[in-house]
């Protein structure tokens, strides 16, 4: 067995994994707090990448500078999504929000397709390659990995150390209890959506130089995000992070050693099996 190939694939997988994590963390947060399946989550991700594309193509700005406007715009879109598609239906059966967020996703994708119909690979100022004992690590992937890691750590600190973050956790645990102790649950819903969408937008910017940026990229990652959320346990933040990295690495290795064509199918089969056998996720305690 050629270990350099193995480690090369594992590194590529880790970099993809951080992109998946940024996407899926928001998805699992929204599910945990609002109990809503957000099918427009992919569009937050796509928006991030598209902001980076527009800033680079029109103003010549480097992709990592686009992180800030992308995060802000993503957050704003998250807020709008919550107010337009989720809040009016929060008391209806779960199907209503599935359909309304699906409709919103459809609208956003087609707006994006009118504005930017073809895929773009973003240029990056980091062009060097580090050779680590035969494993090639591009500087671009290293930068994306590091920035993504920072975003995940910031989210973790926010959720565990800061008051608002703890309020999100409390609402996820018990909505009625949270409102009884004076937490503004509706405000927490808004905040959750804003944070989740901003995270996804950051993820979109970070992967834009590595993958391609295109209008339907959100739909492509959405299912993968669901698989990660389900396997990690719906609403389980740490489980989601772990599974995202596992999926990134596992997918790269499966693609290399088993089948390139069926790597996605394999992931969904795992998801279906987990959902049927262990619906609480593989990292749940009970």
């Amino acid at each position: 067995m050629d270990w350099t190939v193995f480690f090369q694939q594992a590194w590529n997988g880790l970099v993809n994994g951080i992109g998946y994590a940024l996407f899926a963390l928001g998805l699992t947060l929204i599910f945990g707090v609002l109990k809503v399946i957000n099918l427009s989550h992919g569009e937050f991700f796509m928006l991030g990448a598209m902001v980076a594309v527009f800033l680079q193509k029109l103003l010549g700005i480097n992709f990592f500078v686009a992180l800030i406007p992308a995060a802000l715009l993503g957050g704003a879109l998250g807020f709008i999504c919550n107010r337009v598609a989720v809040r009016p239906l929060i008391k209806s059966p779960p199907m209503s929000t599935i359909l309304s967020t699906l409709a919103l996703s459809y609208i956003l994708v087609n707006i994006s397709l009118t504005l930017w119909p073809y895929p773009v690979t973003l240029k990056t100022p980091f062009t060097g390659v580090i050779n680590l004992g035969g494993v090639h690590i591009t500087e671009a992937s290293l930068v994306s990995f590091a920035l993504g890691g920072v975003a995940v750590v910031v989210l973790y600190l926010f959720l565990t150390k800061m008051r608002k973050g703890k309020e999100i956790g409390a609402t996820a645990q018990n909505m009625v209890g949270a409102s009884l102790v004076g937490i503004n649950v509706k405000g927490i819903f808004d905040l959750t959506f804003v944070i989740a969408a901003a995270l996804a937008a950051i993820g979109g910017v970070l992967v834009a130089p590595l993958w391609q940026a295109y209008s339907t990229m959100g739909q492509a990652i959405l299912l993968k995000g669901f698989a990660i959320v389900v396997v990690g346990g719906m609403g389980n933040v740490m489980g989601c992070l772990g599974v995202a990295m596992l999926v990134g690495v596992g997918e790269a290795l499966f693609g290399n050693y088993v089948s390139m064509y069926f790597k996605e199918a394999a992931l969904f089969v795992v998801m279906i099996v987990v959902l049927l056998i262990r619906p609480q996720g593989i990292f749940a305690e009970k």
């Binding site: 598609a85 599935i98 359909l99 459809y106 087609n110 739909q219 669901f226 199918a265 959902l275």
Partner: protein, 333 residues
């Protein structure tokens, strides 16, 4: 009594039969065929959404399974088209039974939506990547048209939109009849009872799992039949047929048309085939508009267009009668 009860459906059927004589150009007739196809497909999805009260995001996969099964059998084995359709029903039913049997044991609601989403996507990936069987992205081309060869009568090929329209209309009528007959049966009433309250229905001896699986299988088999008829009409089957775009379209037809009614999905299919055609000049933006209509309908008209129309009509006729009674000097009707 029989006449009164069946008057409306018979009138609609009569209108449907003469429609191709009114719209004589090929384009309109093609739209008529598409409406019938999608109406039957939407009705099959409505078994799951409207009567089981569950949501399947993978229903379009069965449409694809039917289309591929029948197309492959007639292309590779030279099987007569009708036998291919039968095989499509059997194949869709078996796969639907397996998926329903495995997934409905533990999952309902949101989880079921994700499981079916995943299953649908896996089937889509197979249709795209199993190159030897499905010819990948390019799909299957040159699928033969159905031929009616009764001994003693001239051979007839269902090739034109005109003749095919009656074929798919027959399938639509069959679907409507089947669903309404099932709804009147013990099985159908049990499924509706389960939708209303699964625990209560189970407590009076309805086996939720068995009935759900059976209903899911029926919906899948019907979707496969519709898929098979569609494949032999357009004569090309590609993985795109199983894509999320079509799934979304189908959901819109059922939910915006009116879930849990027979007329709703048909009305939905007609609206959402015709409206995009009329909006053709705005290209991509018409899809934005379509999504917008969908969103507005879900928020403001959650029951769908058909039930809203019915209640509007009832209210109008009620206030009309009240008005008549007023001008009629207090006489009540």
């Amino acid at each position: 009594m029989w006449m009164k009860k069946h008057l409306a459906p018979l009138v609609i059927l009569a209108v449907a039969i003469i429609l191709p004589f009114i719209f004589r150009d090929a384009y309109s007739r093609q739209l008529l065929v598409l409406i019938c196809v999608y109406a039957a497909l939407a009705l099959s999805l409505d078994i799951i959404i409207g009567y089981m009260g569950q949501i399947s995001l993978g229903h379009i996969a069965f449409f694809g399974i039917g289309a591929y099964t029948s197309a492959l059998l007639s292309l590779k084995l030279g099987m007569p088209v009708w036998l291919g359709w039968l095989a499509a029903i059997v194949c869709g039913g078996i796969i639907g039974y397996i998926i329903g049997y495995v997934s409905l044991r533990r999952t309902r609601g949101v989880s079921l939506a994700i499981v079916t989403f995943g299953v649908g996507f896996v089937i889509y990936l197979v249709s795209q990547n199993w190159y030897q069987l499905t010819n990948g992205f390019e799909g299957l081309i040159g699928i033969p048209s159905p031929v009616l060869a009764i001994p003693g009568l001239p051979r007839f090929t269902f090739e034109s939109s005109f003749s095919y329209y009656y074929l798919v209309l027959a399938i639509l009528v069959f679907t409507v009849y089947l669903i309404s007959a099932v709804l009147r049966s013990r099985f159908g009433r049990a499924v509706v009872a389960l939708r209303e309250n699964e625990e209560l229905a189970s407590s009076v001896g309805i086996n939720a799992f068995n009935y759900y699986v059976l209903a899911f299988t029926l919906a899948s088999a019907l979707a496969a039949l519709v898929g098979a008829t569609y494949g032999h009409y357009v004569r090309i089957v590609t993985p795109r047929l199983l894509g999320m775009d079509y799934m979304l379209m189908l959901l819109i037809m059922v939910v915006v048309g009116g879930k849990g009614t027979l007329a709703g999905p048909i009305l939905g299919a007609a609206i959402f085939i015709l409206v995009p055609e009329w909006l053709r000049m705005t290209a991509q933006l018409r899809l934005v508009l379509l999504g917008g209509i969908f969103l507005v309908c879900i928020i403001f008209m959650p029951q769908g267009i058909y039930p809203a129309l019915v209640s509007l009509f009832k209210r109008a006729s009620l206030s009309g009668r009240l008005w008549l009674s007023k001008v009629g000097g207090g006489k009540t009707f």
